[in-house]
């Protein structure tokens, strides 16, 4: 059980986040359309969110991050996931979450079925085209089927994929956030293309999304929208602007993640003060112990 919980990570408040930012992420608001990305399914009592982490993330943790989820680790076991997008709030994230309320981590090959992962979230390297799933609860599989995707020959107009194709490969999305503004634009262009014929977008997407997300009640119905789960997906109108901003924010999050974590703890002032204070306290206590021990020994020898 402990192992299961250790392996579990978090994925969460998909709905809220999806409605606000995530849903607008470029080509990420639904299962991946080709084998050039990892489909990320996050399910909790707040709803289900299916997104695509483009490229080949190095770990399931990285896939969640590049799909635009914000993650919180367990303080004592930083390889374990505690919260996804701030859910659950009630868990203080110091000890391992209880076996009845944790993010269980599942993975599935392309077109396969969910398998409870025997490997930690930071240790699992998802293959492009496969799926990773996170369900909050007591270790049941996600209700959404894993994605079934075909080789990177999308069904959209022939020329577009070629412009879009380069994008998936930059798994170094972290390095790219600023400079190649145009390239981040490019994928959005791919989603933008449909808005003119937004019906067409849904239609083209349908073949991919539909088989993938059929069984879930919430997910299947609005097949037309990229984020099937959220009816509020004003996202389909993921036109150029919002998508660009969202892609920016998500890639920023990825880029910021590793760096600002380190820098924040380096904000030395209070840290060194605490170190000095704690050290002084312990030194005082240790000298008190030594003093009492010596006095006691002298008293005993004098008796």
């Amino acid at each position: 059980m402990l192992l299961r919980r250790l392996l579990s990570l978090a994925a969460a408040t998909a709905v809220g986040a999806a409605a606000l930012t995530g849903a607008a992420a470029p080509a990420q608001a639904a299962a991946c359309s080709s084998t050039s990305g990892v489909t990320v399914v996050v399910q909790s009592s707040n709803g289900t969110s299916v997104r695509c982490a483009s490229g080949d993330p190095g770990s399931a943790w990285g896939a969640l991050q590049s799909a635009g989820f914000s993650l919180t680790a367990v303080q004592r076991f930083p390889d374990a996931l505690c919260r996804i997008d701030g859910f659950p709030k009630s868990d203080p994230c110091v000890n391992m979450p209880p076996a009845s309320a944790y993010w269980s981590f599942w993975h599935a090959p392309n077109g396969g079925s969910w398998t409870y992962s025997q490997i930690g979230i930071k240790g699992w390297d998802p293959k492009p085209g496969s799926s990773v799933g996170f369900r909050f609860g007591s270790g049941t599989a996600p209700g959404t089927q894993p994605a079934t995707v075909s080789a990177p020959k999308p069904t959209t107009a022939a020329p577009r994929p070629t412009t879009a194709a380069p994008k998936p490969t930059p798994r170094r999305a972290t390095t790219a956030p600023n400079t190649p503004r145009s390239t981040t634009q490019a994928p959005s262009g791919r989603t933008t293309a449909p808005p003119a014929t937004s019906g067409a977008a849904g239609a083209t997407r349908a073949p991919n999304a539909a088989p993938g997300t059929t069984p879930t009640p919430g997910a299947a119905s609005p097949t037309a929208s990229p984020t099937p789960s959220t009816p509020s997906s004003a996202s389909p109108s993921a036109t150029g602007e919002p998508s660009a901003s969202a892609s920016e924010s998500s890639s920023d999050a990825v880029a910021a993640g590793p760096t600002d974590g380190r820098s924040s703890d380096g904000s030395g002032g209070s840290g060194t003060a605490r170190l000095l204070g704690g050290g002084a306290l312990l030194a005082g206590l240790a000298s008190a112990v030594a003093f009492v021990g010596l006095r006691r020994r002298q008293a005993q020898t004098s008796v």
Binding site: L3, A73, I119, V289
Partner: protein
Amino acid sequence: MAGPLTPPLPRAVHPAAWWLWAIGLAVAVSTVTNPFLLLTALSVAALVVLSRRGSSPWARSFRLYLWLGGFIVGVRAVLHVLVGLKFGEPVILPLPEVSLPSWAAGINLLGDVRLDGLVGALTEGLRLAVMIACIGAANSLANPKRLLRSLPGALSEIGSAVVVTISVAPQLAESVQRVMRARALRGDTARGIRAVPRVALPVLEDTLDRSLMLASAMDSRGYGRRREVAPGRRALTAACTLGGLLASAVGTYGVLDATTPGWMGLPVLAAGVALSLLGIWLGGAANARTTYRPDPWRAAEWLTVGCGAAAAVAVQLVRRSDAAALGVPLDPLGVPALPLLALAGLLVAALPAFLTPEPPPPAPRSVARPRPVATEVHP
């Protein structure tokens, strides 16, 4: 010394008070991995032990518990290097990594040792070491024989059995010495493995003789005699004790397992404890026994227990409000917090070192040497 009143006469504080104090301190530490708090608790335990331990042989056992704690921290570090989860940034010891086959997936042998993960493992080990040091403090502060004396009446027979058991080892050592000395006087100087049968048989015989002597001595002093008890009452006692044990076990399970219904947790546990206490009280009435000079329970005992409880409560309050302050930030490794309330609670637990009466001074040598019970008894 530090008391506002006149310094109390030297006397031994009730052993149960020391145990409750130590358990309070151990409970306080049990959810903490913050090294500041852990080392503070360790210093507090050491301070109280050094200033209030008696002169008995087990009073010097605290050092052994410290060694055991150090051993635990070392084993934890070695296990971390072998199979631990190595996370974090700076690699401090590059090692090759061995992945196990799929049936043991998720476990990697060796691999680069990283600072963050090692710090996490060491603090976890330190937590267990400090808890063990707390128990060691209780062991060296409280006289186990006096603790057994103050057991409730229903458990007094178990208590005497335990006392007889723990006096076996020193008696055996003394037997061996006597037999060796007798052999030396007769000119038998065989040593090593060939001497074992010639020493073992007399020692065994000696042990049996002593056991018989001890049994007859206890019999002549009225041990094992019981009052007449009505059969109905005896059945009630048995039902209370057994039912209480069963309910305690079920209740403990309910408290620890989050998936059981709520009524199976605390309510059943409380009912089980109450039933057990009732059974002990009923059983005690069947025991005709008086205590010679019972250990008093006065203000110093209350103070000791209260200080231990204060530490546990303070840390628990911090855990409710700011749980992260009780740990070490590992993901980016950082300086742990200094939760003042928890520190104050742990420092309060050091007060018994100054406010309780001093232990009685060691008795003169000739009397201090523990004499086996049986030698005082002649059939």
